[in-house]
Point group: C2
Chain length 120, copies 2
DNA sequence: GCACATAGTGTCGAAAAGGATACCGTCATG
DNA sequence: CATGACGGTATCCTTTTCGACACTATGTGC
């Protein structure tokens, strides 16, 4: 998964903004991170909290977050399998960012867009 | 332009995070907003600040930001054409978000990714 | 007449992201 | 023996996004 979005971030002063975006961009990364702030969780625990996300997508997002060093994946060699996800310090340092996103969203985002124009 | 990303944001408590992301997601929106915090600007002024963004892309991003009510577009009926872009109050309210993104980015984003692994 | 600047638009095509679905191995339960 | 839970993969296909490039209109300067 390329995950490029921008080749470099020194083109312009505001480019580090895009740089950060690179990490949380991905359809479910924001929510995943948000939930992980609550604490360590197992795969299906996260899954249940994000019902609209398919298993494949969740796996994808978790893998990318892991590759970016934002979350840690701990496998317990048991049966049935048990895998726990938690934030790394780097991931935890994103908390103010996610919080800012959430605060703005709570104030400005219409929860169900269709409701406002579903008068068709 | 669909710009959906998520159908609704009430599926899970963290979903407003994705809701906010919907507005600033788009390859150059973060930078565009960032630059507009400095003040009103003309089209080519913005363009010069984001050299890697093509004209068509910039137009696109500006149109989407406008449609989302984050920026205002003022056309002066002159020749040669003159169009000014500025933030709306709603757009300005995103400032803490963009700032949070920038702060984290400044601290955590490697400016030129290839430099760190271009040892090929 | 030609090129340049402004602020775009239109079309095309490639690449990436996302979704649906089916499948894997193992153990416990019924 | 069949089923379900766990934590995934593999494959296929569609949608979305991005980038390149050409083209528009008008007025000015040469």
């Amino acid at each position: 998964m390329p995950r490029i979005r921008h080749e470099r971030f020194d083109c312009s002063p505001g480019c580090t903004v895009e740089g950060t975006l690179r990490y949380i961009d991905g359809k479910w990364k924001g929510v995943v991170l948000y939930h992980l702030f609550e604490g360590t969780m197992r795969f299906n625990e996260i899954r249940r909290r994000i019902p609209n996300c398919t298993q494949r997508m969740l796996t994808n997002q978790l893998r990318e977050l892991e590759a970016d060093g934002l979350i840690a994946r701990k496998i317990y060699p048991e049966v049935p399998p048990k895998v726990e996800y938690s934030l790394t310090p780097r991931g935890r340092s994103l908390e103010p960012v996610i919080t800012a996103l959430k605060v703005w969203g709570d104030a400005n985002v219409t929860l169900a867009p269709e409701a406002s124009q579903a008068a068709a």
